[in-house]
Structures are given as structure tokens and as C-alpha cells.
Symmetry: C2
Subunit: 205 residues, 2 copies
Amino acid sequence: MLLCDIGNTSYHFCEEDKVYKRDVKLFEPSDIKEIVFYICVNPQVKILLHRLDNWIDLSPYVAMTNYYVTMGIDRIFACEAIESGIIVDAGSAITVDIVQNGVFEGGFIYPGVNAMSQTYKNISTALDYSFNFELDLDKMPKNSRDAISYGYLKTLYNEVIAHNMNIYLTGGDAKKFAFLFSQATIDETLIFKGMKKIMKKGNLC
Amino acid sequence: MLLCDIGNTSYHFCEEDKVYKRDVKLFEPSDIKEIVFYICVNPQVKILLHRLDNWIDLSPYVAMTNYYVTMGIDRIFACEAIESGIIVDAGSAITVDIVQNGVFEGGFIYPGVNAMSQTYKNISTALDYSFNFELDLDKMPKNSRDAISYGYLKTLYNEVIAHNMNIYLTGGDAKKFAFLFSQATIDETLIFKGMKKIMKKGNLC
């Protein structure tokens, strides 16, 4: 069984326990002949896949009543994977979503590492530093690198921690945030777990 | 007495109670013949002003031991203006600095409104919204505009409030944040107050 979560930059495949990525610009989906169950946030790829009979969109199988219309389908499937907790999905954006007793309770969107790094650099070349992910969050910074790292990380940390829930850390940059959210469960396959759950509910497997 | 705080985009003048701005790209500082006391974070303008005898740089008059080398001189002069409190200076960057009993205790840098708005838009056109500054911070968002507004504003709010100090709100975007920090003292002339204080200490007036 082949699963695929398609973002703005890559096809993220899951085949049994094997997980791998393909570049959106280079990969040709019609090269795959077997059945692929997918979700997709990329509008161009969506159009492409609708023409291929062996690519099956899982989005119609999820009960949308709990979610909102413009919410990314990847966030929805991550929420479907857990019963209760706060999900931090660190990709090009960082989405933070709360699920309580199987119900989505709302969420917010924060810039991803690359996007935020570029933002500081654009404001001033004097702020062109890589983030210090091992920053001491209990100390107000007294140097430029820590001043932007604190601005980016401590603010996010406060808000996530304030909800006092189990934290699930996923997405391409999950490992970078592992030190910050030391109490989190890191699960880079959370979306695939949500997809499998929806497939079972929909009798697709 | 003419004071001037020069940023990356504008000359910010203070003459008695009158405050006005001039565009960095258009304004010609040699047109002014009277004495101007200034601070400047703009490297190009700095070079220009060093050649003009009637433009007097106030930065050598401040005791730098409490601050760090790469800290913006505008942040330092805002800190000099107060005895104790947390300063939120909302410009192209938002700098947040803590002063306790006249001593700088550290600070952090967060992206300004325009920079952050551009960041979300760059991540995805689906996130191209203006921020909702009147967002209910006690409710997890369930729509895209509030999801980015919460990501930008609630995270900053949490961190500023956590210090439990008097909040001083200044900078070009101060008014936008007035609803968020409803308990803050809004003072758009904070840096000029710091400049006047330093001038008194240095017997320049």
C-alpha cells in the first residue's frame, strides 16, 4: 500500500515502514502504476492527479464538520491521527493544532525556520544569523544571534507549553525543534497515521 | 534644539514638541544649518553625517558597559529613557527590551508587521491576509486570517506579559499594537526622551 502526502515542495511517500521524498518539480506521478492514496495541498499537483485513476484523494473521506474550509488538508490528517494533544508540524510553515477527545479545537500558523530566517535577514543584514536552537530560554538575550533566536523560539515555546497537553512534533524540521520541546513525542509519520485511520474508517483497506 | 533618530527608512526629527519624518532616500542632511543631535542605525547615512560638523552623534555619550556591541543604538537610547519596564518598539523589527532600576537586562527581536505579513504571503498565497489586531487571544483560531494573526500576535503577547512589568509601546507601528497591549503606556517619543537624558548627563544642553 502506497501513501503520499504532497506539499508545496515535495511528494512524501510511505510504503510499509519506508518513507521517502520526491521533488515536486522533478517527479512525474504518472510513472507510478500501482494505487496511491494521497492528500495534497499543492494546487498545481492537485489538477495533475485528478486525471490519474490510480491516484486516490483521501480528502473526501474525512468528516469536515470539525474543521474550517481553508484549513490545509495535511493539518486535518495530522489531527485525525491523535485522540488528544497539541501537534507542532514544522515545515515551510509551523502549524500548531489542538485536538481534544478526537475533536479539533483550533490552531495557529507560525513561520517555518527558513522563512523566518529570511525575514530577519531581509529586515537587516545585521540580523543574518542561523537560529540557536539550544538557547537558554530562561535568560533574556544580550547578543544579536540569541536576540532573534529568542524572538523566534521562546514566543512559540510559551504558547505551545501554555496549553499543558501532550506535544506531538512532526514535519521536515521536527528534529531541529526536539531540544526546544524536549517533552514532545517526535513522530514524522503522523500524517500517514491519520491517512491509515481514515482509510480504515472508509473501508479502503 | 533639533534631535534626530535615523533608521533604515527615515530621519525622525523632534523639535520642541513637533515630531516629523523625512525619507532617507530623499532627504539631504547638509540642507540643515543648525545643530542637530542625532543617533543613527543606517550605515550609509552614518558616513554622510560624519562629514557634517553641525550633526552631533550622541552615541559616544552613553555608557555602553550595560549593553552589547551589536545592539542597535535606537534600542539603547529607548532603554536610557526609562527607569524600569519592558519596551516594545514596533518598527521594521519589533525590539523588546527590559530595563530594571536603570540597567538593561536583555532583550529580543521579533519581525515587524510588514516583514511578518510578507513572510506568511511568501510561504503561501493562501496566507496572504492582513493581521487581525483585535483578535480574541483566549480562543484558538478556526479560520486562516486568525490563524496567522494568533501565530504572530499571541506568541509575542505571551512573552511580553510574562515579565509582569510596566509596558512602554513605541515605534512607527505603536498604534497598531495599542489594542493588544491595552495596559501599555504609548510613547512615540521614547527615544527622544532618552536622547535628552543623555544630553543632560553629558552637559550638552
